[in-house]
Amino acid sequence: MTTETETELQGVVKTRDRVTIRFAGDSGDGMQLTGTQFTRTTAVYGNDLATLPDYPAEIRAPTGSLPGVSGFQLSFSSNDIHTPGDNPDALVAMNPAALKTNLGDLVPGGLLIVDEGEFNSTNLRKAGYELSPLEDGSLTPYRLMRLDITKSNATALEGLDLGARERFRSRNFYALGLVLWLFNRPLDTVVRWTEERFQRNPLVLEANLRALRAGNAFGETSELVHERYEVPPATVAPGTYRHINGNEATALGFVAASQLAGLPLFYASYPITPASDVLHELARHKNFGIKTMQAEDEISAVCAAIGASYAGHMALTGTSGPGLALKSEGLNLAVMAELPLVVLDVQRAGPSTGMPTKTEQADLLQAMYGRNGDSPVVLIAPATPGDCFGMAIEAFRIALKYMVPVVMLSDGYLANGSEPWRIPDIAAIPPIEYHYAEAGVDEHAYQRDPVTQARPWAVPGLAGFEHRVGGLEKSYETGDINYDPGNHHQMTLMRAERVARVIVDVPDVEVTGPDRGDLLLLGWGGVYGAIASARERALAEGKAVASAHLRHLNPFPANLGEVLSRYDKVLIPELNNGQLSVLIRARYLVDAIPFNKIAGQPFKISEISGKIDEVLGLSGPYEFEF
């Protein structure tokens, strides 16, 4: 839907219900900051939105080079949306390399803003252009807006005691000011943030604000811009909202869990992309009684957490795939010692070091099976950035009630992606319960709860419960070391049973769309948004497609088998080579169709739509266009 209104001062304002914009520049150009600031303004304005930051692993790849390009995509809408958009309608390219690596995604006729001041022979050569694309006619399919941001920005900063380098560094604020004008957005949210961020550096503050206002004024006065776009606020559920990304929501969820249980939180972690921000965030909240430890390695981090769990604290360790591999022996100790532990795995592209800043969902089978012995743990996965908050609480609720390790599988897309988040009513969240051993109630440290099979949490300091625990097999009855064949058999089954019994706390999986029919899309983790959008699109086109999303992966929801049986076909889109498919096929003997993308990037809606058409027999085999 597009409407036009013309006003004397502002030129044409076109109303759109959804816009996708991408900021791209050198990794030193501050594109993540620019994108984040535009996002915050847009969120406060009331649009629904979703973001996709995409940056290189190198902190500063060679300036102007293709591998050094950093991008931030944002989709905002007056409707409820689930993904950061497939292809941008607008692209801001701060240098030739950014143009080259991103132009292919821009929709034909899309708005293209370039800083022509950076299109010099050196930068063109670094980007592999023989002729300047500004001059060779190759950009004619787009609405090109070329301006010398570098020079205009330097002019705006004249009189400030800044070197050329510092001046150059604020040109992202110039671009931001222009884009805010283009989309009819106020500057105040960015101004407030900038004032707070640079309050101790008045010169930089002044430079950034001048740059922001100069870019904004350029839009208003320049003949270059003939039209602006307005995306009205979205109609969403009433409430108070904030903007949040997955890692923030995860960290806040863990703080909340600690308060809900009334127990101190202990977080041990070794820095690893993309999980480190959780450590940074939790380290800032020591006033909640949180203790954070930057461990010497991943193994130490999980082991320190186990030590804290043994001490009776809420124990948490966070990592990404390679770190989860290193933590497997520790995780197994928690299984064997029957201690509550939460492991956060913010998945990234593997194997090995893989692509640290790129997203993937390929740790599912590692988390499920990657330990010696029969060693079940509980697995959960948030669906959206905001959902990370509730799932962090869920992780501890299960771990403490059942005295089991819980692995929470987040991913890089959720961790860094953001969305408007309706702030939950904390008072309405039930407290988290735990059971310290009690004289008169528990006879000893291995007195099992008949319902959950959990033993009491017999923490040091409790007189009368002095006991020895460890990684050796223990007697089911007493907890003493035991090598009897029958006992090991019983204990192995007990460990499986304890995890299986968590099912009573797992909500049934919900189906959206027709409750039976041709096709069910089944997803988990961060693919939620793309699947939901593809299902909406399919339904709008009259195709009988339903979708269901798993937030509990071990145990699965009790009704899952029954749900799967109601559809002729089950399609499982995943960012891995078919890991949930393996689990579903093995467990339910359903001939699920895997749809796997292993590109370090989230699904586009169009990719899932294409596969739906193939499965429904409406088109030939679907192939990715990378």
């Binding site: 915050r40 969120a43 406060v44 304005y45 009331g46 949210t189 559920a237 409430g239 108070t240 909202y241 904030r242 903007h243 949040i244 806040l252 703080v255 909340a256 308060q259 202990f266 020591k286 006033n287 909640f288 009684g289 203790k291 430890m293 461990a295 010497e296 390695d297 193994i299 130490s300 981090a301 082991c303 320190a304 957490a305 186990i306 030590g307 804290a308 769990s309 043994y310 001490a311 009776g312 124990a315 022996e329 520790g330 908050f389 702030i423 939950p424 904390i426 040091p460 300091g461 007189a463 009368g464 419960f465 002095e466 006991h467 020895r468 625990v469 460890g470 990684g471 050796l472 003493d480």
Partner: protein
């Protein structure tokens, strides 16, 4: 009879414990004649003197013969995984600084697979007592060389002799910044009991290496200098503030010649013997002493270093207290953040 509880007040009096109170109901399963028995006995003798209730004491161990230790002490105990006891103890002590925590490890567990964690628990100065049973061999896996086995040692995994240089645990502990570093001997029961007690009372990371005989796979590893009949001539007891003297009649001594120690036979008062000082900031002196080895020198026993520093667990707790003083925890405010908008 009663004694003060660990926090020094007499309000809550606890019964005075004896060695027997620290003997668990588990059968001890070390080989008959193993040096571990002596270490266990001396620990059980030393523990009552700490005047700490059993439930507030925790033994954390890794994997190996020595790491079975926690099963035999009637306190809280956690027999963990290979090499990781220091990491688990760090988490435990940081979460609950009021607990008294021991780490029991061996030369394979602590210096090979767990070398990294040992270094870091000492560097951080976590308030725990680390007891490293050094028998210079892998016992539980039946006789492979360890990181403290001397070069050339013939073992099952080195039939032609090892080609590796050994590491010196004392030297490592000093370099890592341990605030208490000592060595004792399984057969010198009085010295061992006293050393364990002093180490346990130390505030900060205390490291005790115990020469421990494995009579099955490495019998007599220390016999050349530690047998009772030669010990006085071939080992030197370090005592703070006293000159280094050894020999049956304390007739020999050690002095420094430049950076190097030298033996002075039949030393007199005028020989400028090295006077031991455990309280120096610098690790230069204890490092020189740690380098003395038989047969060139008498092997030192006793406390190499004993200094006071802030502990990791104490500093972490202080930060939490300071943060709380600065800002009351307000969960709702935290979750709401700084920027919100309302949808009606």
């Amino acid at each position: 009879m009663t004694a003060a509880s660990s926090n020094g007040t007499f309000e809550e009096e606890i019964p005075l414990l004896t060695r027997k109170d620290f003997v668990s109901d588990q059968d001890v399963r070390w080989c008959p004649g193993c040096g571990d028995y002596s270490i266990l006995a001396q620990m059980q003798k030393a523990l009552p003197a700490l005047l700490i209730p059993r439930e507030e004491i925790v033994f954390i161990s890794g994997i190996g013969c020595s790491s079975r230790f926690p099963y035999y002490v009637d306190t809280y105990g956690f027999h963990t995984i290979h090499g990781r006891a220091p990491a688990i103890a760090t988490g435990l002590k940081t979460a609950r600084p009021e607990l008294t925590v021991f780490v029991i490890t061996g030369d394979g567990d602590g210096l090979s697979i767990g070398g990294n964690h040992l270094m870091h628990i000492l560097r951080r100065n976590v308030d725990v007592t680390v007891v490293l049973f050094n028998n210079r061999i892998y016992g539980l896996t039946k006789g492979q060389y360890s990181p403290t086995s001397p070069i050339g040692k013939v073992t099952k995994s080195a039939p032609m002799g090892t080609t590796e240089n050994p590491i010196d645990p004392i030297n490592l502990a000093l370099a890592a910044g341990a605030t208490f570093v000592a060595r004792s001997l399984d057969r010198d029961t009085k010295h061992l009991e006293a050393t364990l007690l002093t180490a346990a009372r130390h505030k900060g990371a205390a490291f005790v290496e115990v020469f421990q005989n494995c009579n099955i796979y490495n019998d007599g590893a220390f016999a050349a200098f530690a047998e009772k009949d030669v010990r006085q001539d071939r080992m030197v007891y370090l005592e703070h503030g006293k000159p280094l003297r050894f020999g049956k009649h304390n007739e020999h001594g050690i002095r420094l010649n430049g950076f190097l120690p030298e033996v002075v036979e039949n030393a007199s008062g005028g020989d400028n013997l090295l006077v031991h000082d455990t309280g120096l900031d610098s690790i230069a002196l204890p490092t020189i002493l740690s380098g003395m080895d038989y047969p060139e020198f008498p092997v030192p026993l006793g406390i190499f270093r004993q200094v006071e520093r802030e502990t990791y667990d104490g500093l972490v707790a202080a930060q939490v207290a300071r943060a709380r003083d600065a800002a009351e925890p307000d969960l709702e405010a935290l979750i709401v953040g700084t920027e919100t908008w309302d949808v009606r």
